[in-house]
């Protein structure tokens, strides 16, 4: 219920309904009073008419509906009446309007004294019939107000929707913008209220573009500036190894620290390159199975060092992708499996066609991840603390974030599940299938 359109339509319609209906009620009550006055005048005219007629002329009841009764009294003698059963005075002979109950109904009465003939004329009209007649006339007038509300609602809906269209257009343009599209928004014939908003958004886009350019330059500079000294440091470490005695603890820690620093710089660069703003599309049709074979061959020594069994299963599967990015994706998944699988453990890479997708699955027999942590593992710098000796595992918590970025760039779905081994995790990447994906 937080939509501006709904708020405007509902509140305008509620105010309109409330005011109209309360006004209709007031009108009803005022009209009823007016009608009462009119009927009283009519009753007075009837009384005067009866007074001016000879009593012989008014023996028959004047109203076929029996909604009118009268009596003419002279010197306490009833000389004329509308019904023979009415022998007693309908009401006390006091001039003026009043109410009385007789014949099972409530009546509006008028006692009128005729000075010319010294007669008391009592005329009475059934209150319920007067009321019904008045009500029927007045409700006929109120009914269009009631029936008009749905029509008013429809018009309000149309006008509010039309009025909010520029806002909707602006929101639509923002929604449809690509992540790396920082061009200004151009909406023709923009309303004055939205000009400032549009101007501010475009100014923000410009500032964002400049900031991204600065960041790009910074990363390129940082990569250059950091990679060179790290490489020099590694050369110096290599030379130093000759002079330092074997098993020197401080030297080993220094070497591991430099390795970690190099890994972190490489991962930061990969992360930066895999953002939508930086990713340059070089999509080509490539065989995922062959790519996995290449990556496994390049990283095989890491698995051998840990005495881990690495298998590749599946068939030739073709996807539209960037070879460099997908190599990085596979490297990160394999490196992750290598780090978190204990020595002697198993890792299996599978490429296969599943339904409308090409599935790349990397499973390990490591300690596994709790399902409650599945959503966290793709976050930046996230390292799950429940895994034993996590601190001992070299890594900076960016590998799976890079995997997710690259998968998103290929419109692939990333998911995690328990592996088919007794323990462990399976990372599943589902690529969209192209017509000739599977040989």
């Amino acid at each position: 219920m937080s939509s501006i359109r709904l708020f405007l339509i509902a509140s305008i319609l509620a105010i309109l309904t409330l005011f109209n209906f309360v006004a209709a009620l007031q009108g009803y009550q005022a009209s009823l009073r007016e009608a009462e006055q009119l009927f009283d005048n009519q009753l007075y005219q009837t009384a005067k008419l009866i007074a001016n007629l000879h009593t012989e002329q008014i023996q028959t009841p004047p109203s076929p509906q029996n909604n009118l009764a009268y009596q003419v009294w002279h010197n306490n003698q009833l000389i004329a009446t509308s019904a023979p059963s009415l022998r007693q005075p309908i009401i006390e002979l006091l001039p003026g309007f009043d109410h009385a109950n007789f014949n099972g109904y409530r009546w509006r009465t008028l006692v009128f004294y005729d000075d010319n003939h010294n007669n008391w004329i009592i005329v009475a009209e059934r209150s319920d019939l007067r009321y019904m007649l008045a009500e029927s006339v007045i409700t006929q007038a109120v009914l269009p107000i009631l029936l008009g509300i749905p029509l008013a609602g429809l018009l309000i809906w149309l006008i509010v929707s039309r009025g909010l269209k520029p806002l909707r257009d602006l929101s639509e343009q923002l929604k449809n913008k690509q992540a790396n599209d920082l061009t200004p928004i151009a909406i023709p014939d923009l309303k004055s209220e939205l000009k400032q908003v549009n101007h501010s958004i475009n100014a923000l886009m410009r500032r964002l573009g400049s900031a991204l350019d600065r960041e790009k330059r910074f990363t390129a500079d940082a990569a250059h500036e950091l990679r060179t000294p790290i490489s020099a440091l590694k050369v110096q470490l290599h030379n130093l190894r000759e002079e330092v005695p074997q098993g020197n603890e401080a030297f080993a820690q220094l070497e591991a620290g430099v390795e970690r620093m190099q890994h972190l710089v490489e991962q930061l660069l990969s992360l930066y390159r895999s953002t939508p703003e930086e990713f340059s599309h070089q999509m080509t049709r490539l065989n995922l199975y062959e790519l996995a074979q290449e990556v496994i061959a390049n990283q095989h020594h890491d698995f051998e060092k840990c005495n881990q069994l690495l298998e590749l299963e599946g068939d030739n599967c073709f996807v539209e992708g960037d070879p460099f990015a997908l190599t990085t994706l596979l490297q990160n998944l394999l490196s992750n499996a290598n780090k978190y699988t204990p020595p002697g453990g198993q890792i299996r890479v599978t490429t296969e066609a599943v339904g409308g997708h090409i599935c790349l699955k990397v499973e390990d027999s490591g300690p596994g991840i709790s399902p409650t942590d599945y959503s966290k593992v793709f976050e930046r710098f996230q390292r799950l603390s429940h895994i034993k000796d996590v601190a001992a595992v070299q890594g900076c918590g960016l590998g799976l974030t890079i995997v997710k970025h690259i998968a998103d760039l290929h419109n692939a779905r990333t998911s995690i599940a328990p592996s088919s081994f007794d323990t462990g995790t399976a990372f599943i990447i589902l690529f969209p299938r192209t017509p000739d994906s599977h040989d």
Partner: protein, 269 residues
């Protein structure tokens, strides 16, 4: 017929609209999707149809005071549900509490709609047997429903105009008034059914503000105004208000107490 119809429908719709509006404000503050309302409306309309179709049988229960007893039971149930809602809403945000909040919202709206709509159905059914009264009655019903729903919508949006920190307190106050109103009406029904003893009149404001005037009817629906309430009704009204306020206070106190050890732990760290 027109005015009677306006007043009767307005009273019934306004009572339900107030409750729904206040609960929807809580629901939005709690970022809860409004599916609970659909469930409550469906249950309420089904309940009202069931009750109105069986009203003749229900009336014969408990020595022909079944209608009064059933209506009073539903009103007391709404009072208790609102008190429980105030407790759960003010308390912690555990899944169990959240479920209890939803149950209280759905059940209180469903009971309220069952009672109010059943009375409307019976009234409309009675009028349908007299074709001459049909047009004024239906026009009046439309006007009454329109005013009631409009007041509910405006109340809902106007509560959000308040400063954020006041909204919850104002809604709790409104819930307390609704609970007091329900409790007082239920007590009156049980007194009419001779299940509770008649007590002295607390005051008589009929001269200043007659119950059957339009402001009187509106105030009756809003805060349960009665020109001549009995002592027992006054006690029931106060009890309803105090119960909701107390439960709200207990809930927030419990949350405060649960937070304190956490804060203490952080300080130790």
């Amino acid at each position: 017929m027109f005015l009677n119809s306006v007043v009767l429908i307005l009273q019934e719709i306004l009572e339900a609209a107030l409750l729904v509006s206040v609960l929807m404000v809580f629901s939005r503050l709690d970022e809860r999707r409004p599916y609970w309302l659909l469930t409550a409306l469906s249950a309420g309309f089904a309940g009202s149809l069931l009750l109105s179709l069986n009203m003749a049988n229900v009336s014969e229960w408990f020595d022909y005071v079944g209608q009064e007893v059933v209506n009073a039971s539903m009103q007391y149930a709404i009072t208790l549900l609102l008190a429980l809602f105030a407790f759960s809403m003010s308390g912690d945000r555990s899944p169990g509490r959240q479920r209890l909040v939803t149950i209280c919202m759905v059940a209180s709206v469903a009971f309220s709609l069952t009672r109010e709509s059943a009375e409307v159905f019976i009234y409309i059914e009675g009028v349908l047997s007299q074709p001459s009264h049909l047009q004024p009655t239906l026009t009046g019903a439309g006007i009454g429903a329109g005013i009631g729903i409009s007041v509910g919508i405006l109340l809902y949006y106007s509560l959000f105009w308040l400063p954020r920190c006041w909204i919850t307190s104002c809604c709790l106050l409104l819930l307390a008034l609704i609970a007091g109103n329900m409790s007082s009406q239920a007590t009156l029904l049980l007194t009419q059914a001779d299940w509770l003893p008649p007590t002295a009149i607390l005051w008589d404001s009929g001269h200043w503000l007659p119950e059957n005037s339009i402001p009187g009817h509106l105030l009756y629906a809003l805060v349960g105004y009665e020109a001549t309430p009995s002592v027992l009704q006054g006690v029931a009204y106060a009890a309803g208000i105090i119960l909701v306020a107390l439960m709200g206070w207990l809930g927030s106190r419990q949350r405060h107490l649960k937070r304190q050890p956490l804060l203490a732990d952080r300080k130790e760290d």
